[in-house]
Amino acid sequence: MGHALGTRSRPGRSVVTMSSITLATNRGRPFRTSNVLRQYVPLLPPSILLLVFFAIPMGMMVGLSFHPEGASTATLANYERFFTDDFTLAGLGRTVLMSGLVAICVTVMAYPVAYFLARSRSRWRAVVFALAIAPELAGVVLRTYGWLIILEDQGFINSGLMWLGLISEPLPLAKNMFGVVVGLTHVILPFGILSLLTSLQGVDPSLEKSAQILGASRISVLRHIVVPLTVPGIVSSMLLAFTMSASAYATPAILGGADFKVLATMVYEQVLFYIDWSFAAVMANVLLVMMLIIAAIGSRLEMRLHKKLHF
């Protein structure tokens, strides 16, 4: 045991030997003042990037929305224009309607899949999970293009139905609200499934078992146990789908056709065709404020529902 001590002992260190910038705190642990700041240094590159390419541009954009071309002082003129113009108001209304429909479709379709994924132990579970998530890798263009092939006038469905003689005129499936809602539902469905899955996994399966033992049928178990307990998940899935749809650009642009204008596509046109930056900024801000309001409502609602359900 002597050698162990001998080989390992080193001269002791004490506070006195530390450099002059050392401060001995009342806790007896010395620290260097510069260390406090030094620990923030790695944050500089990401923060500068976010500042230059996000925070400053956002600030400028908000500022610009109050300064229509030629105006020297801040004015609400452009906002007034936005909320009095029938064209922009129709676009806003269309955005809300489209997003609402998508929110409902996504949640209704995602719920059974999420329930299956949360409860099943069959070997199909992995298959369903992979199929549900895989389209996310494909990107929006491929999927939208696929729907275009399926839905357009000479497309899969219409030519099939005409060949069967069921219809003589092609059904208007693409280049309208229907096509956009189908396309967006497809794009957002995986997110809806994941969001509801988290919520359903939070419901203890023994609750369902005890309800069954008490004589509840499958339907009543769903109606009285599972659905009420996953209301927060349903709400957050709907809000997620709503915000994702309202800010989607590519799907409405491709599947909606030339006349289908929502806020996102209108913003793009203002910037690149009309080159009215101030009005583009107004539209972008309206979209942003809508998102923020929904996010705020969503988080408050979720908190309240959560409190109610989890004591």
Binding site: S47, L50, F54, A138, L142, Y145, Y268, L287
Partner: protein, 267 residues
């Protein structure tokens, strides 16, 4: 009664799965069909559209998109690592506020971010940045929050006792970061980078504002074509780029995923 319900339940899942897979199958079939009329009959299929992909009008956008995605993925990984280290590992004072700042771009729709950046570049006299530099910067703004969040999660899950064990065995801070922290959070870093790559490679809403004429990314090239043609070559482009993304994920997983060592058997 319960039987009917289970039956309906199963049917609804099959229908949703069909809905999810249908467009993918259709695009696949379209890329192999001899004409713009899509056929599902395999013996009529041809790969001639894939031959057309070597044309410069497809190769150039592909190379640009891939270059941007690689840069975005690498930079997001490095910056995400730096930020997550301070916020999630060191947990410096104010880390919660800093984290919300780093994640704040998530609250803003892409199209709004795109407008803001293009307006900023124009007003600040940096219009020459529109093109590759602007695309890279804008994509990083989009991907960095995801990278930070994934890497931060990996760091939160890192067992502090491992660091303490390293300390009690005489490892300095630099040694502990190199030998313990980095190898253990590597899967988190790589999944963040993979995510950044996919988002960047497929991006439309930001790129649409920042591409230069004659120098566009692959998705933008495709949607520009889509407006006036349903040429089957577009299907081939889409399938090829999906295969490319899958290959990249496979490579990232090979480099970054060492889950088998930790969770698996005796090597």
């Amino acid at each position: 009664m319960n039987r009917i319900v289970s039956g309906l339940f199963r049917v609804s899942i099959v229908l949703v799965m069909a809905f999810i897979t249908l467009p993918l199958i259709v695009v696949m079939a379209a890329s192999l069909s001899p004409s713009s009329q899509v056929t599902l009959v395999p013996w009529e299929w041809t790969v001639r559209w894939y031959g057309d992909l070597v044309a410069r009008r497809w190769i150039d956008p592909f190379i640009l998109s891939a270059q941007i995605a690689v840069l975005v993925s690498l930079i997001s990984g490095v910056l995400g690592l730096l930020a997550a280290y301070v916020v999630a590992f060191e947990k410096c004072p104010g880390h919660a506020a800093i984290m919300s700042f780093l994640l704040s771009p998530l609250a803003v729709p892409q199209i709004v971010k795109g407008v803001a950046i293009v307006l900023f570049l124009s007003s600040a006299g940096l219009y020459r940045w529109v093109g590759t530099p602007g695309l890279v910067a804008a994509h990083i703004i989009l991907t960095l929050p995801f990278a930070v969040r994934m890497i931060a999660t990996a760091m939160f899950n890192f067992d502090r006792n491992l660091d303490r064990a390293g300390q009690s065995l005489g490892a300095t801070k630099a040694q502990r970061i190199r030998h313990l922290l980095i190898p253990i959070i590597k899967p988190g870093v790589f999944s963040g980078m993979t995510f950044a790559f996919i988002i960047s490679f497929n991006n439309i809403p930001l790129s649409v504002f920042l591409v230069r004429p004659g120098q566009t990314t692959l998705p933008i090239t495709v949607i520009n074509y889509l407006e006036y043609s349903l040429d089957p070559v577009l299907a081939a482009v889409n399938v090829a780029s999906l295969l490319f993304v899958l290959a990249v994920i496979f490579v990232f997983e090979k480099i970054g995923g060492f889950s088998a060592q930790i969770h698996g058997g005796s090597k």
